[in-house]
């Protein structure tokens, strides 16, 4: 089996190291045990982070009922979220290295025998939680500010509804990330699913939006089923769903030690199944193959929603899930390799589709799916730090890209077709959008050394190249990175550069007037774009702040959490780069001296390959889509919005571009293989129910019906009379049965 052999490469010499712990004689699970040994109780103000967004939801719901029309819901939401962000910040600053829990109220407390099933409304704070909450609350605040302007067309109709759901989403996401037990995570998990449903279907009169919302919820539910079963199995196996108890469970520690020793036969298969089930949930929420199909359709929602929920925060919940339950994934023989390969396949598949789309928002959607694939590959390759770092940088630059696209959509009445827009950067008032879009594109493309996207992707790619047996995965991911650079800059060259041209879309935000004025974004949108662009660039520093820790600041955040497991290869490589604590790498040095890439140290070779690849992708995009002159880097030849060199190539390539544009017909395939047969079966069931089951009942009911016919004369119009005769009949029948049974009993 391929996975099994690859797995042995990955896990057999796996050492779990935490910076600072010398890791020599201690078992691999020691760090986890130390960390969860003394879980303290935190201050109550932590609850503000969770409940302020909920307050926003409640306020906006009441405000909606009052029927007032103003921007008040937006300002309330922004203010509450900003306070939540500040509270998160102070949570970060006051964190002293010991995880703690904060109790809100009791939720599940079921006792039986001497055991109990406990899952309270409480929150578990460690550095992984803090890392996630920082960008969740921060981005939510920014995007709420953006939305205050973006949604202003809907004041009085959907404005309150939008911000209600927005607040509810942030609340749910906080529960997901901060919950101290698996059921709280599940509550948040389904809660964000509900908000996603409500917000995708925000334009509820549009059938396509309703269908997309439904699809998102149902596809996610399939994943949720896996997650739920995984949670139940965890409870049945370990007897608890609370993090503190679960991660300090000695049985789990033994399993981890056995897994590190490569002895998976010592781990019962139920324990190994947990990760396989949880993984399904992660694939659903984070839009991984084969459950990714809902995310591109989710672009039916307003763009701030796409940016916040479907790019920056909610879709990273799957990454959080796997990072949080990393110990459970480690003890499963096949789980991590499957996660890595699913991530890689998704990254590649989504990139191929993204290259052929014309709707800029969908391109961004597929790039999100693809980048999430990188994160999963990182998780599967034992680089939780790489995955977490990529989550963080991606949150900034992808939110930025979506919001920039949203500004275009907002300004040009919903126009998203890149064939109908050109040279937007040069239009009056659009300069900031152009520049920030460029920064976002550079980060997504991963241009070497100057973008944060490069560094975070680098951590994942390096991991693939240094892990024996995963070189192929590394090459696939590098190839995908080249495609990413191409399709990203395809958008930029076509929409933002070249001669000015814009056809308005069909969406007038419910405005009945047919006169269209393209309008440049206002101060709120511009402020948010500039902030996000700055964040995207500054995120580079995160890899370098806190040099003492392995993999910098993000590494330090992941290290003090349940996700703090590193592959020995990466650690030895880091040591070679003079990074990190030398004591930490004492163990694994000498393992798997990785082979060379293009004659270089694998990490260095990888940087060259992926860096040049990204530049190459941009140049290809310039050649095929760039406008004439310097704007196309003197390679391009486009003079019109809808004509470029790619058209000729596309014609030559036969049906392939069309298939890619049609998403390789995956949706049609699912419809044919799953949905239609299921509908047919449902109809058959319906007919069985009507004809067969009910028919049998009617057959058996034949005799009583005869009886009913006999009684019928007494139904003389007075219903009470009928009822009384029924009661009389009942009594008589009762008596008969009693007598019969008593006789029988007496005889026996």
């Amino acid at each position: 089996m391929m996975t099994a052999s690859l797995l042995n490469n990955l896990l057999a010499p796996l050492a779990m190291l935490a910076p600072g712990s010398s890791g020599s004689d201690e078992p691999a699970s020691a760090h986890l045990a130390h960390m969860t040994e003394h879980v303290g109780t935190g201050p109550k103000w932590i609850l503000l982070i969770v409940f302020l967004p909920l307050l926003g939801f409640v306020f906006n719901a009441i405000y909606a009922a009052s029927g007032n029309k103003s921007k008040l819901p937006a300002w309330t939401t922004i203010a509450l979220l900003a306070v939540a962000f500040l509270a998160t910040l102070s949570m970060f600053l006051s964190y002293d290295g010991t995880p703690y829990t904060v109790h809100a109220f009791d939720w599940f407390n079921l006792h039986y025998g001497e055991k109990s099933f406990v899952a309270n409304f409480s929150f578990y704070i460690d550095k992984l939680t803090i890392l996630w909450m920082l960008f969740v609350t921060g981005l939510a605040t920014l995007i709420a500010l953006y939305a205050s302007e973006y949604m202003s067309h809907d004041i009085g109709t959907g404005y309150c509804r939008f911000f209600s759901a927005f607040g509810l989403f942030v609340f749910s996401m906080s529960c997901l990330v901060m919950g101290d037990n698996m059921l709280m995570l599940y509550l948040g998990w389904e809660g964000v699913g509900l908000c996603s449903y409500l917000l995708i279907g925000y334009f509820y009169k549009k059938p396509s939006a309703v269908a997309a919302a439904k699809k998102a919820f149902i596809v996610n539910r399939i994943g949720d089923l896996g997650l739920a079963l995984g949670i139940y199995l965890t409870f049945v196996h370990f007897g608890t769903v609370e993090y503190a108890a679960l991660f300090s469970n000695e049985t789990l520690h033994h399993y981890i030690d056995a897994a590190v020793a490569g002895d998976f036969s010592a781990i019962p298969s139920e324990a190994q199944w947990i990760a396989m089930l949880l993984m399904v949930g992660a694939f659903g929420k984070s839009a991984q193959f084969p459950l990714y199909v809902w995310l591109p359709d989710a672009m039916e929602g307003p763009t701030p929603v796409s940016a916040l929920i479907h790019a920056a925060t909610m879709v990273t919940a799957g990454v959080y899930l796997i990072a949080r339950f990393y110990p459970l994934f480690l003890v499963s023989e096949n789980a991590l390799p499957i996660v890595a390969w699913i991530g890689t396949i998704t990254a590649l598949l989504a990139a191929t589709i993204g290259m052929a789309q014309f709707d800029i928002k969908r391109i961004m959607a597929y790039s999100t799916v693809s980048q999430l694939g990188y994160m999963f590959a990182g998780l599967g390759l034992l680089s939780t730090t790489g995955a977490a770092f990529h989550v963080l940088t991606h949150a900034f630059f992808k939110a930025l890209l979506f919001l920039a696209c949203g500004a275009v959509m907002h300004g040009f009445a919903g126009q998203l077709d890149l064939r109908k827009l050109s040279g937007v950067s040069w239009m009056k008032g659009w300069g900031i959008v152009g520049i920030t879009m460029l920064i976002g594109c550079m980060n997504l493309a991963g241009l070497p050394y100057i973008t944060s996207g490069f560094y975070s992707k680098d951590m994942i790619l390096a991991e693939a190249f240094v892990t024996p047996g995963y070189r192929l995965m590394g090459w696939v991911l590098v190839f995908t990175a080249i495609m990413t650079a191409y399709y990203t800059f395809r958008v930029f060259f076509r929409v933002f550069l070249g001669d000015q041209h814009a056809e308005p879309g069909e969406d007038f935000h419910g405005d009945d007037t047919n006169d269209f004025h393209p309008h440049a974004p206002g101060w709120a949108i511009n402020t948010v774009l500039i902030t996000l662009a700055a964040c995207s660039m500054l995120a580079i520093a995160l890899a370098w702040i806190d040099k003492s820790a392995y993999h910098g600041w993000v590494g330090s955040m992941v290290a003090d959490s349940t996700a703090s497991f590193h592959s020995p290869y990466a650690v030895s490589l880091a040591a070679a780069h003079g990074e990190g604590n030398p004591a930490a790498v004492a163990g694994p040095v000498g393992y798997g001296a990785p082979g060379k890439v293009l004659g270089m140290d694998p990490h260095g070779g990888m940087i060259v390959v992926s860096g040049l690849g990204a530049i190459f992708g941009v140049l290809v995009a310039a050649f095929f889509h760039g406008p004439k002159g310097w704007q196309g880097l003197f390679l391009g030849g486009r003079t019109q919005a809808d004509k470029c060199r790619m058209d000729a190539i596309a014609k030559r390539a036969g049906p392939i571009p069309r298939w890619a544009e049609n998403k390789w017909f995956v949706d049609e395939f699912y419809a044919m293989v799953f949905v239609t047969p299921l509908r047919v079966v449902s109809h058959i069931f319906h007919w069985i129910d009507k004809l067969l089951l009910d028919g049998l009942v009617n057959l058996f009911g034949f005799l009583p019906r005869v009886l009913a016919w006999i009684i019928r004369p007494s139904q003389s119009g007075v219903l009470q009379g009928y009822a009384v005769s029924m009661a009389g009949g009942l009594a008589v029948l009762l008596l008969v049965v009693i007598v019969i049974v008593l006789r029988a009993g007496g005889a026996a």
């Binding site: 010499p13 050492a15 020599s24 201690e26 078992p27 109220f105 009791d106 939720w107 599940f108 407390n109 079921l110 006792h111 039986y112 025998g113 001497e114 055991k115 389904e190 809660g191 509900l194 509820y204 009169k205 059938p207 269908a211 439904k214 919820f217 149902i218 089923l225 739920a228 079963l229 409870f235 049945v236 196996h237 370990f238 007897g239 033994h254 030690d257 056995a258 590190v260 020793a261 002895d263 010592a266 781990i267 139920e270 163990g587 694994p588 393992y591 069931f685 129910d689 009910d694 009942v697 009911g701 009913a708 009470q720 009822a723 029924m726 009693i738 019969i740 049974v741 008593l742 009993g745």
Partner: protein
């Protein structure tokens, strides 16, 4: 008789008195008001009982009152309530004013008859749950049929005659067999080597019935299930339900879904399990399989309905499969989950039926192809609709979730081979993970059909039937009265979603007592502690670790 027992008696008989008052009053216009006041007044004794209930002794019937009725048959009028009766009685009484208020504008003809029968139904429902005497239970159990029959027969929609007859005869036929089984149990307990005297006292019967041989128990179980499985309804005995639900007036549907179906699960929990514990243990997997088939089968049927009321009716079949699954697991989590499911299904599905009723009053159609996209016309209605649909889907934080979680966990647990080492209360029958997996698909299917429903009826372009403006009432959003009928249910959904522990604690003693009966009857207490797997000993792991070539702790 103390004051508390009197309260319980009032709960049973005051509605009957009110019914007579309504039926024989001169003025039909007062019927609604009288019924509403009566049902609201009933809340007082109910709340008083809640206040007086001793939760520390939840497994003992409280407020007991017994009076000899027919001495020669050993028949007593004996009532009382333990924690489970308490919850179900509270649910029934709470629904009273809601269904009355919801009927105000829907029922315009024969109002006296309507409200009178509704009141009778109220009393009968409380009687069923309060009965401590087998025959009294049975009489009340059957007596709920009659008012419901009239409500469907007289106030239902087009196909009401067939629906009412099928409803009546099907459930009645089933319960005849139930009666036979009950009588056999009574006879058995009356044997000299058992209790030795003719008794219909339920606690006494429970004490001796499990001495029956397994074959006797099997027959008794089959007999009991004949009535209860039809009532639940368990696949394949459910075909009366969609018809009855669809044809019944709104109040009838609400009571049918919220309370009358629960008579089936209540009967299984109260009688089938304790009276035939060994047989139930042996056949638990079969019952569980039927319930899982019901979950999937009925769920898929929901998905292709165009009649919205039929959709919700079938969803009851699907949902109650979870409740039966929890019962079949025969452990504490399963029983707690199942009882919670009875209550939470009452709230959310009751709410859905009310929503549909309000829509039907406005558009006079239940066809989702002719009416839809109502969010733009009736935003408050649509908000409630989405809310109850989500409660029904089992969204965490709302009422459906805790019960669903427990029912599924119980299926996992009840396979001794999987359970973490011999925990009393968690053994249960022998279901196992696959039962949970297949039942779990119900989660996905529920999302499929409920979102299909919400997507059609609430969202999309507004669709209204032709010529609906001809009716007197122009479609407008919910009025204050209607919102007030929905609000208690919605608040209940949120409360039970966030505070399920209140319910767990309430039923805990009762459930543990029932589990003990099952374990005792099946000799589980004396069984060796069951170890699910060979957990590697600590030393083994470390020796493996050290011995492994690739280990890296040097």
């Amino acid at each position: 008789m103390n004051l508390d027992s009197l309260m319980l008696i009032i709960l049973i008989f005051f509605p009957v008195v009110a019914a007579l008052w309504i039926a024989f009053s001169k003025n039909a216009d007062n019927a609604y008001r009288t019924a509403l006041i009566a049902s609201l007044v009933l809340l007082l004794p109910a709340l008083k009982l809640l206040d007086r209930f001793d939760f520390a002794k939840g497994d003992v019937p409280q407020f007991g009152y017994s009076i000899s009725w027919i001495d020669s048959l050993g028949l007593n009028f004996s009532i009382g309530m333990d924690s489970i009766s308490l919850l179900l009685i509270l649910l029934s009484v709470l629904l009273g004013p809601i269904v009355v208020a919801a009927s105000k504008s829907a029922i315009t003809k024969d109002r006296r008859m309507y409200y009178a029968w509704l009141m009778v139904l109220q009393g009968a429902m409380v009687g069923v749950f309060a009965a401590q005497d087998l025959l009294l239970f049975y009489i009340c159990f059957e007596f709920t049929l009659l008012p419901m029959f009239v409500l469907i027969r007289k106030f239902g929609s087009t196909n009401r005659v067939a629906a009412s007859i099928k409803f009546f005869l099907y459930t009645f036929t089933g319960s005849m067999l139930t009666l036979a089984a009950m009588v056999y149990v009574v006879w058995f307990v009356a044997q000299p080597d058992q209790f030795g005297a003719w008794t219909l006292d339920i606690p006494t019967l429970t004490k001796y019935a499990w001495h029956m041989s397994i074959s006797e128990q099997t027959w008794v179980l089959l007999g009991l299930l004949a009535g209860f499985a039809v009532k639940v309804p368990l696949f394949p005995f459910h075909t009366w339900l969609p018809l009855a639900h669809t044809e019944a007036p709104t109040a009838g549907s609400v009571i049918l879904a919220a309370v009358l179906l629960k008579l089936g699960t209540y009967g299984i929990y109260r009688f089938a399990i304790p009276l035939a514990p060994e047989a139930f243990f042996a056949y638990a997997p079969h019952i569980a399989i039927l319930s899982i088939i019901g979950i999937i089968y009925a769920g898929l049927i929901c998905w292709v309905q165009t009649d919205i009321k039929k959709l919700v009716a079938y969803s009851s079949v699907s949902h109650l499969g979870f409740a039966v699954l929890g019962l079949a697991a025969l452990n504490v989590t399963g029983f707690s989950g199942s009882i919670l499911y009875m209550l939470s299904h009452g709230l959310s599905t009751g709410g859905l039926f009310l929503m549909i009723g309000f829509m039907y009053e406005r558009y006079h159609t239940r066809d989702m192809n002719t009416v839809g996209g109502l969010a733009s016309k009736m935003p408050i209605w649509a908000t409630f609709m989405v809310f109850f649909a989500m409660a029904s889907v089992g969204l965490p934080g709302l009422n459906g979730f805790p019960s669903e979680v427990l029912c599924l966990i119980s299926a996992f647990q009840s396979d001794a081979a999987w359970t973490a080492a011999g925990e009393p209360g968690a053994w249960g029958s022998s279901l196992g993970p696959w039962f949970a997996v297949f039942a779990g698909t119900g989660m996905v299917i529920a999302a499929m059909y409920l979102l299909y429903m919400v997507g059609k009826i609430c969202f999309g372009p507004l669709k209204e039937p032709e010529g609906h403006h001809d009716h007197e009432t122009l479609p407008t959003d919910l009025n204050f009265r209607e919102i007030m009928t929905l609000a208690p249910l919605a608040l209940g959904c949120i409360y039970f979603g966030l505070q399920p522990t209140v319910l767990f604690d309430t039923v805990s003693d009762q459930v543990n007592a029932t589990v003990r009966i099952v374990e005792q009857a099946n000799g589980l207490e004396s069984a060796e502690p069951r170890i699910m797997h060979d957990t590697p000993a600590v030393d083994d792991i470390y020796s493996n670790d050290n011995g492994h070539e690739g280990a890296s702790h040097d």
